[in-house]
């Protein structure tokens, strides 16, 4: 690390993990552009290279992207939140019920949904900080709890639909050239980036991730900071629920099933250490993009279309990409270990 400080800044930039990930992303995109785009009989472009397809990718990645943004501070504190996908489902149902059965206006129902998200995150935070339970177990519990509540409210059958077009605009229309939810996602990305990289709070997330005892001895309010990351994750999950509902035009109990795993994958692929302390929001954004492009790009490849196995292959490649990234991250540590062992002899 010290050696890196003496190198010229352009070299440090090239050696950064985020730069490598960006290169992977660009190569990935070019491959899909080359093999996944074709012209139909009328001479129109179809497949990966079309603008519509690119907007589609953006639209589909916003919800998982938001969850990945929510998880970045959590994982920086060496925590984990498995419940964000389930909380997304619960918040979608709460929103639908408040509007449809409760007769509340859309803005009021949306505001209350964000409050419910904060409360869900608060439940995680309380169990983790007050009872000192491990985050993995707590959020594994609320993972089932939130989904169960969503299904109980709807009895597993009801979906809420017929939302007004003013609300659907949020998920289906463009504004200033980009899908509406992409603007919201960008706004959240900037806010989380500022929180993590430019405030004392983000600084303390890292300290807690590296050394919770060290943070305590430095007089940092460890419990309050840890609570904040889980509550924030809850609020962002609720926002993702609103966007999800607007995109599909319906609120259902199984919304966001399995999203937490994609989000965690994106965060870790983005270079954030699952052991806490290290990581960046930029990395998370690149991780989200890499996964989204992979998923959608594969669906455009003729060979994949012929096999009709886009889901399976994208799962396979996402896993492989993650393992390669983790190995790449571990190589310097491993080399240091070897060097230390040689010196010890």
């Amino acid at each position: 690390m010290i050696a890196a400080n003496n190198q010229p800044s352009w070299r440090r930039f090239l050696l950064r993990y985020e730069t490598l990930l960006l290169a992977v992303l660009v190569i990935e995109w070019l491959i899909f552009y080359h093999y996944g785009t074709s012209t139909n009989r009328r001479g129109h472009l179809v497949g990966f290279g079309t603008l519509d397809r690119q907007f589609d990718i953006l639209r589909h990645s916003c919800e998982i992207g938001l969850l990945a943004l929510a998880l970045t501070p959590v994982i920086l504190t060496a925590g984990i939140d498995l419940s964000v996908g389930s909380l997304l489902g619960l918040c979608a149902i709460v929103f639908g019920k408040l509007w449809h059965d409760g007769g509340l206006s859309i803005p009021l129902a949306a505001a209350l949904t964000l409050v419910v998200g904060a409360m869900g995150g608060g439940l995680n935070a309380g169990l983790i900080t007050a009872l000192r339970l491990p985050p993995l177990i707590v959020t594994l519990g609320t993972y089932s709890l939130f989904r169960g509540l969503a299904e109980a409210i709807t009895q597993g059958a009801v979906t809420y639909t017929d939302f007004p077009s003013g609300f659907l605009f949020l998920g289906q229309e463009r504004w200033n050239g980009l899908p509406m939810q992409a603007w919201l996602f960008l706004l959240m990305a900037v806010l989380v980036w500022i929180l993590v990289h430019r405030t004392t709070w983000g600084r303390s997330f890292r300290v807690i991730g590296f050394s919770p005892e060290g943070a305590r001895y430095a007089g940092l309010p460890v419990e309050r900071r840890v609570s904040i990351v889980y509550i924030l994750a809850g609020i962002i999950a609720a926002l993702a629920a609103l966007i999800y509902t607007a995109r599909l035009g319906q609120a259902k109990a199984d919304a966001g099933t399995g999203y937490e795993l994609f989000a965690i994958t994106a965060v870790v692929l983005g270079g954030t250490s699952i052991f806490g302390g290290r990581g960046s929001v930029t990395g998370t954004l690149l991780g989200v993009a890499a996964i989204a492009v992979l998923k959608n790009g594969l669906a455009c490849l003729p060979v994949v279309i012929r096999l009709n196995a886009a889901e399976e292959i994208s799962g396979l490649l996402t896993g492989a990409l993650l393992l390669v990234a983790l190995t790449g991250n571990a190589v310097p540590t491993f080399l240091n270990y070897l060097r230390a062992r040689r010196q010890a002899r």
Binding site: I2, T200, R203, S204, R206, G214, A218, G219
Partner: protein, 508 residues
Amino acid sequence: MLSGPPPPPPLLTLRRAAKNFGGVRALRGVDFDLQAGEVHALLGENGAGKSTLIKIITGAHQPDAGEIIVAGRSLTGLTPSLAQQLGIACIYQQPALFPDLTVAENIGLRLEPAGSMRRINWSQRRQRALELLARVGANLSPEAEVRTLSMPEQQLVEIACAVGAGARIVVMDEPTASLTSREQDRLFTVVRELRSSGVGIIYISHRLDEIFTLADRVTVLRDGESVGTQPVSAITHAGLIKLMVGREVDQLYPPTEFTGGEIVLELRNVGCAAAGVYNVSLAVRAGEVFGLAGLVGAGRSELARVLFGLTPADRGEILLCGKPITPRSPAEAVALGLAYVPEDRRRHGVVLELPIDQNITMAIHARLFPTAWLKLGTERKLALDFIRDLAVKCAGPQAPGGSLSGGNQQKVSLARWLATQPKILILDEPTQGVDVGAKSEIHRIIRQLAKAGLAVIMISSDLPEILGMSDRIGVMRGGKLTTILPGQSDAHAVMAAALGQELAKGAA
């Protein structure tokens, strides 16, 4: 001339054994020998080198120089497993047994040959456990889970393992530290039986009385050197203390200029049952360095943690500048103006992965960045100031804390707390594991801070440091502040108070 049979060769001999850790010389050439059938006590202040010596004997550390001779064989590469084969066993203060397994299983794991597909003969294992337990006089069921046993019972299981392994050399590291006097008597009986069966026992203890009851010979270590081996019958309590303390303060400490100041911190009967601190009363004045002496485990760091809100006090009063305070967390303590430079700097003092500047500003986020927005320029400038003022040797403010040497890490830890501009600074072993150069720099810094009007509490196990730096010396023992001595006290008085000994008149 008496012409008896020649004395049998010793079980164990160390010749000029030396060991360095980084720049710190833990052992500088120790001679030591252990005869069959003797209890040989090892005595010394904290940090005198006892633990290092034991680790060399048990093969955990390799000496940098010198010779180890076990049963006539000179060994160069002693490893833990080789030590075991040679019949060397060590019983630590905290028994190292598996709490969820039974006594018989623990004994079996130590003594039976290893092998992944080995069938276990349960009745044989039980029988052997019964025999060994009987030999050490332990009335325990082999089926008892170790977690249900008391500390002395667990020690007996450890001794049974040593006996079962046919140990010829048994090292006991402060075995009575947590025993009641009845349990202690039982342990002594077992030790005496081991001795009469020809085992050599290296016995480490801070309790002088025990050494006089149990040991045949005693070796005193000081600053990594052996300062004498004598038969116990030929030495007195006072003589032993004198050996341990030895030379006068020979290091040059910056002179004190304290003449008296306002009381900054006052404790009235402060206690915390959970931390093992009882009824501590003291007052520290601005400009004063109040030394806290005592043995490891006497409750000094525990008292510091009570003051810093890590384990809040449950009785008594703490007054800061005359106002009662009740710090319930470090965050509250920091806000009140307390600062604590902890003993374990790698775990608590410095976050090794983070750069120096972030480490220095960690406790002053609220003051330096009132809007929570980081001002990296301000942070860098502050860090550079401290790096210059405290002469931290580093590649720059961005260098990670883990890249620094022990002394420089300690300076960074100190800088973090000086940055809080505290009213009272508590230093816990400020120069432990620090090389000589950095040590005297840290002493100079402490003196400057006191001169500038800071009230300093300095916990130290380094007796010369306590004597050289303190304006007054509080001595703790068993969680209580037993004595407060003036700064010009002699080493014997401090050591005697720490050991709980009344010095006979004129003994010094």
